[in-house]
């Protein structure tokens, strides 16, 4: 997996955040294009390429969710965009309330605020489970659920100004 290779790490779902950051700074000092401004064009291009991948990799690996998504994808697992069945009823009610508020029915607002808080709590609990789960099938279903919940939060926040 290219992103792990960029850091000289073995692919793993969990990793040491401080060690990752240390490796990022070390490698940036060595590879950054600034260090090659008087080198040949080929070397400059190589430095640009390696640093871009290093930065992309750091962005992905330091974030537990992005890291898990990357890891699963590289392992050949597909993530789905389908709604998790256990959330269907809740989503239906949420959409109703969203419509009502958009049409100017202020009575829907408290319900939406409450729904948002519940989804945020749900997301945080998924993040907690992600940190301790190692079974890839389970990780996949957690990620599916998380992605869906995140979209719901975004939808509600688009309607509720802060």
């Amino acid at each position: 997996m290219q992103y792990y290779e960029a850091f000289g790490l073995e692919p793993a779902l969990s990793l040491d955040a401080d060690d990752l950051k240390k490796r990022f700074y070390e490698r940036s000092r060595l590879w950054h294009p600034d260090k090659f401004s008087r080198a040949s064009t080929e070397e400059q291009e190589k430095a640009l390429e390696m640093t871009a991948v290093l930065n992309d990799a750091f962005r992905t690996l330091r974030d537990p969710v992005a890291r898990a998504e990357y890891f699963l994808k590289e392992k050949g697992f597909e993530l789905s965009k389908e709604a998790p069945p256990e959330l269907l009823e809740e989503v239906f009610e949420l959409n109703m309330a969203l419509e009502e508020l958009k049409e100017g029915d202020e009575s829907a607002r408290p319900q939406l605020i409450e729904a948002r808080d519940r989804f945020v709590a749900m997301r945080d609990s998924i993040d907690g489970s992600l940190a301790t789960t190692t079974d890839l099938e389970q990780v996949r279903s957690l990620l599916n659920r998380r992605r869906y919940v995140r979209n719901l939060i975004r939808e509600v926040e688009n309607v509720l100004p802060n």
């Binding site: 700074y25 940036s28 000092r29 950054h32 294009p33 600034d34 401004s37 008087r38 640009l48 640093t51 871009a52 991948v53 930065n55 992309d56 750091f58 962005r59």
Partner: protein, 611 residues
Amino acid sequence: MSFQIDFGNEKSPIVGIDLGTTNSLVAVMELTGPRILSGIVPSVVSVTEAGDVIAGVEAREMLLTHPDRTVYSVKRLMGRGVDDIQDELKLFPFHIVEGSESTIRLKLGEKMFTPPEVSAHILRKLKLDAEAELGVAITQAVITVPAYFNDAQRQATKDAGRIAGLEVLRLVNEPTAAALAYGLDKRKEGIVAVYDFGGGTFDISILRLHDGIFEVLATNGDTHLGGDDIDNLMLRIALEDVKDEWNEDVSMKADAVQLLRRAVISAKEQLSFVPSATIDLAYNGKTYQREITRELFDKLAAPVIDRTLGPCRDCIKDAGVSVAEINEVVMVGGSTRIPLVRGAVEALFRKRPHTELNPDEVVALGAAVQAGILSGDVEDKLLLDVTPLSLGIETMGGLVSKLIHRNSTIPASATEQFTTAVDGQRNVLIHVVQGERELVKDCRSLARFDLKDIAPMPAGFARIEVRFLIDANGILSVTARDQRSGKEQSVEIKPSYGLTDDQVEAMILESFDKAEEDFSERQLREARVEADSILAATDKAKQNDAYFELSEVDRASIERGINELLVVYHGNDHLLVRAKIDQLNEATQTLAENMMNTAVRGALKGTNVNG
């Protein structure tokens, strides 16, 4: 052997340039630290009646006498289209040529210029000033840009450098440059916010400083918000006032408006230090005076200053830090002299901002530090900057699919697969946009990339991998590969704003033609710089014991050499100056050799040869 070895051809330095909306500056990195060269160059360009293009202080004077042949604040037009600048046109006397569309053209006198060409004249002025002071040719530069500049604005700045005959080794974000200059002798670790409020742009950046690494965590801003906006508010009121008092509307008279603008700016600047100032105008035998108190000024300026606070809050949030975690706030840009600005920043960040650095110079100094990093002279510092805006592509229904999110550390890249929708389709058009909104129409169009000459095959069979790469300057490039054949896929780029490569090439050639005219003058100047060094070196050598050991004849020929060089020094013939330099060089050869021998003997005496 000659004295040339002491003053030999040093490697030409990379200069750092702050290309500002109102003023520009050039600096260079020296052993003792970064240093500003020559003086402030007003970012004003004018065409004289003789057809010569001038930049800087002289051009600023032309604003009063020939406002129709003079342009200022051109930075506001860099990388923009005519549709973008309608608001600016109401307030700035830009002389836009009819029919300008994606590329703006300005008319100054009989000549036409694109904004990068105007900026190139400012850059060339800075380049010549730096060359005169350093006595060497300058060919490479680091140029600063507002952190919130988009791809087109950055590209336009880079084009300006090329047109001016400068290889732009790096574009550096202004607040980041300021942090570099600041972090050099102040804080070594911690989180620093840089609040950069200049003439025409506003930036806020939050950085983590760690063991020589300057890591930008987030940046935000407004590329059309600055002290100019306060000037315009004051100007509008003053114009109304003048109309009432004189029964004459001078708002269409460019020279009167220019005079009044200057009076307004002067009052604004005074109000940073005194509680009340006067706007003074004398025009066509009439006079106008108006006292303005700081209280009134604050009332006018408050809405403009408030507009900087939203981006600050967003930036803090994006950086993932709390206000309490920010160790220091650094102020950059002339507008941060305004007490109300300082108060607003202090209230928001809950700490007293640093104002001890000269807010006009700190960006150029930082650019020089970055130049030192690139040349290898500064080894322990490294800048990790971010892209200010998300990069995306247009998808079905005019929606944006984001590929690289804002505040990603650059260089950054993203890869995307494309295929065909119709049997036998030969082209795929990719529309790249920059911005945070979800609809294409609310984002900034960067360019359309046409993947061409795709091998004909059934719909959906083509597999083209497109790589989007933002380099360390924040500028995008796109490459594509046909995954089936493994071949590089040709990409034709149509920038939405700005110049094509061919246009820039043409402008460089044109500037070379003009440079020919300056050439002899330039050679003369270079010859004089060289003459200065050899005269200084000879003067110094005359104090040396070796000089007194010379024969009468040798000493006399050195004296003659000096005198003859001095005679031709102020003439117009650079070849003659060169000839006399050579003559003096020859006359001092024995002296140089003797001094060298003495030095070697001295060095040997001091060496322990037993080791």
